[in-house]
């Protein structure tokens, strides 16, 4: 994560000097173009696992920061689920005080290097940004996420990551179930008050979806490991390959093992399938399975990894979210010749981050909009041979104002594929609720909590995807924080 370019050789520094040669006014600030983030060449990156986006240089960051108008009402802050003080940290970037900028972000967001990379900024902090509004397009907003990523990377490269100080032990103990963003955030906040914290994680690695789902080329695993390291340095203990509900019943943690409170952040589970004929044929995968093989089990390091990955040539990915984009781009990197994303609506309705859709298109992923499969066809050995696909057209707007896709009768066509990856979402993880009957869940299996994240059981809190359904990293972190505040209060 070092910045290879010397300040003086960076073309952006000339640009910066030019804009700064006269005092900047709101009007001139609006004229500075939004800074693109350098990326690996699409033709090269589609064949490697390295991170796609390379990050701003210091001069680019300072130039981008100059675009911020430091609005008094700062509408951007309201768009951020954890209310990062955006104008304040951007102000510090303008001054070149990147470490102070990092400190400001970390007051509310513990994982800026991760959020800067994976937050759907165009729907969160950047959506209400005054600059974007003035220029008539959210893509022209101040690039808050890229700036956040820049300062976090800068801080790490300088070896300046400061470890929060932990006061003397209170003797109180808190168990965290699940080491995803919700659990990690909750752990940090509880530990900061001096309570003893143990994180129990089912997998053999820390990070939840950040390590098994989101691919290396979008979120380097070294970043997640570094965050786990910070927690370890703070004195948080980890029990990996420990499945609460099975290795140990949830309530035993409270009743037998001496924990004073528990936080459940077990994330999503049980992938949804389309419920169409042929879905159990060999070569149909849930995106979770496909990505876990590739990311967590490192199946892409062929020859080294024990876990195999299916040899695919023609891949269909069903869905339009981040998960679908990740699966499609992963399939390409694992050697598929053609990858098509089938989505029932159009590009405008795709829930994926705009940047990921753009990157996928640049890499040569083909998008078949207004299409959805009706059947998976197999060969005589039970392997996928083709999809039968139905076309849709946009009809009348529904209650949400979006035009509803309606199937075109008789438009079925058969497209040959050898692999189908289903990325249409998850049900909730059933394990804890099935093994803890006292825990109340809704009919989708999501744990019910009050406004302070407390569950139906005293001293048991929950947050993240297991409460919200499929959400985002930053929302999961927000819930972890809120739970930590409540836990800290009852442990006072």
């Amino acid at each position: 994560m070092t910045h290879r370019t010397d300040m003086n050789m960076d073309p952006a520094s000339l640009e910066l000097a030019k804009w700064r040669s006269t005092p900047l006014t709101p009007r001139t600030r609006l004229q500075i173009p939004a800074q693109d983030m350098p990326c690996q060449d699409p033709a090269v990156r589609r064949a490697n696992m390295q991170e796609v986006a390379l990050g701003y240089t210091p001069a680019q960051a300072m130039l981008e920061a100059e675009r911020c108008l430091q609005c008094k009402n700062a509408p951007c802050i309201a768009g951020c689920p954890v209310r990062v003080d955006i104008p304040a940290f951007i102000g510090k970037i303008k001054e070149g005080d990147f470490l102070e900028a990092a400190r400001i972000i970390k007051r509310t967001n513990l994982l800026p290097s991760i959020c800067g990379r994976v937050c759907p900024q165009e729907k969160q902090c950047q959506e209400p940004c005054t600059v974007g509004k003035a220029l008539g397009g959210v893509e022209k907003a101040v690039q808050i996420g890229r700036l956040e990523r820049f300062v976090a990377d800068y801080e790490r490269a300088q070896g300046a990551v400061d470890i929060p100080r932990v006061p003397a032990s209170t003797g109180k103990r808190v168990a965290i179930v699940g080491a995803g963003p919700a659990g990690l955030t909750c752990a940090a906040d509880v530990r900061r008050e001096g309570h003893e914290v143990t994180i129990f994680e089912a997998f053999h690695k820390v990070g939840g979806v950040m390590v098994y789902g989101i691919p290396e080329f979008r979120l380097p695993k070294a970043l997640v490991a570094a965050e786990a390291q910070v927690l370890e340095t703070m004195g948080v203990s980890f029990e990996l390959s420990f499945l609460v509900g099975r290795t140990r019943p949830l309530l035993s943690l409270l009743q037998k093992d001496g924990f004073d409170a528990v936080f459940i952040g077990t994330g999503a589970g049980l992938p949804k399938f389309m419920d169409i004929p042929g879905e159990n044929l060999v070569g149909v995968f849930s995106a979770n399975e496909y990505l876990t093989r590739a990311n967590l089990m490192k199946a892409y390091e062929r020859g080294k990894a024990g876990t195999p990955i299916y040899p695919s040539r023609r891949v269909a990915v069903l869905g339009g979210g981040n998960v679908a984009m990740d699966a499609a781009r992963m399939a390409l990197r694992l050697g598929a010749e053609e990858v098509r994303v089938l989505y029932r609506r159009t590009r405008d309705e795709m829930p994926a981050r705009a940047e990921e859709v753009e990157h996928a298109m640049e890499e040569g992923i083909i998008f078949d909009f207004l299409k959805s499969p009706t059947r998976v066809l197999g060969d005589d050995t039970g392997r996928v041979a083709a999809l039968e696909v139905l076309s849709y057209e946009l009809g009348e707007p529904d209650e949400s104002g979006r035009r509803r896709p309606v199937p075109i009768r008789g438009s079925e066509t058969i497209i040959p594929f050898d692999t189908v990856i289903v990325a249409i979402g998850n049900e909730s993880n059933p394990l804890i609720s099935r093994t803890t009957p006292e825990l109340k869940v809704d009919r989708h299996g999501h744990i019910l909590v009050d406004e302070r994240q407390k569950t139906s059981i005293e001293r048991v809190y929950a947050g993240g995807d297991i409460v919200l359904g499929s959400a985002t990293v930053i929302l999961a972190m927000g819930e972890g924080r809120r739970a930590a505040a409540a836990i800290n209060e009852i442990l006072q």
């Binding site: 089912a202 290795t247 040899p311 993880n429």
Partner: protein, 288 residues
């Protein structure tokens, strides 16, 4: 970070079958008959290997696994020695439903005899009259015989090649038992999928309820990936959280068998590579 568990002992039961005792106090305490663990031989590159808990000693805090070296991953696991560390997750899956059915018949094929033993013992402890059918390709692969003989009221042994016991497949004595009046109240069959399929076919005409323990390919084992899915009575089930035991008469066996073969070619390559590496290692050891 605490992640590994120590191997306490290792014994080779036959050319291909190993028995390992591993320190895992919580699992030893919590596990019930029919449950399994997922084992990894290292944290970076190991496949996740599902293995049934063959036995456990809650006082010593150990569990016993019995496994056959069928491919690269189980071979690598077999290379581990007492004192080495492995990763173990569990106990996974639902425990076998144990009650006094009356007359219970337990059928085990090959390595399946290992997971069968705790279930047979639990059925016996619950008051059932217990018949055990042990089967294997050849005498050498018949494992757990002393233990099974000790709990069974009646013990029938068959081998494919007739090298021990009767020369037959397990389905032959199973059919004879079903013809008795009254027929068995319950059959539990564990072994290679093809054996379980034929056991289910054998008992179906007699209407004898038959439980099988499915050994699908798994990744997480916690209900997250869907890789272990099977069709049971026209419904999709996840073996790791809905199973591993199902009504054998409802399982779509052909689909299950073809899904098990999904990676056959890559597995073969990995297995051959693994053998080459082992030969190399032996050569190097001999030289030094």
């Amino acid at each position: 970070m605490h992640v590994t568990h120590r191997i306490v002992s290792k014994r080779q039961l036959s050319e291909e079958v190993f028995r390992m005792e591993i320190e895992a106090p919580y699992i030893a305490q919590e596990r019930k008959a029919g449950q399994f663990v997922i084992v990894q031989y290292d944290q970076e590159y190991s496949e996740r290997i599902p293995l049934t808990i063959a036995d456990a000693d809650p006082d010593r805090g150990t569990i016993t696994l019995i496994f056959q070296t069928v491919g690269a991953s189980t071979h690598r696991l077999a290379l581990k020695e007492p004192g080495d560390e492995v990763i173990v997750l569990g106990p996974l899956g639902n425990p076998t439903h144990i009650e006094n059915f009356g007359w219970a018949v337990c059928v085990g094929g090959g390595i399946g005899l290992a997971p069968l033993y705790p279930i047979a013992r639990a059925l016996k402890d619950a008051g059932n009259r217990l018949t055990v059918i042990s089967g294997a390709r050849t005498r050498d692969l018949l494992i757990m015989q002393e233990e099974l003989a000790a709990v069974a009221d009646e013990h029938i042994v068959v081998t494919d090649d007739g090298s021990f016991g009767r020369k037959a497949l397990v389905t032959a004595p199973l059919e004879e038992l079903c013809r008795r009046t009254p027929p068995p109240d319950i059959v539990v069959a564990i072994g290679p999928p093809i054996m379980m399929k034929f056991c289910a076919q054998t008992t179906r005409p007699f209407g004898v309820k038959t439980l099988v323990s499915l050994n699908t390919i798994m990744i997480d084992g916690t209900g997250m990936c869907g890789g272990c899915r099977v069709t049971v009575g026209d419904k999709v089930k996840f073996v790791c959280v809905d199973g591993p035991e199902f009504d054998g008469h409802l399982v779509d066996w052909d689909n299950m068998l073809s899904r098990l073969g999904a990676y056959r070619q890559q597995e073969q390559t990995a297995h051959e590579q693994c053998h080459l590496e082992m030969q190399l290692r032996t050569l190097q050891e001999e030289r030094s």
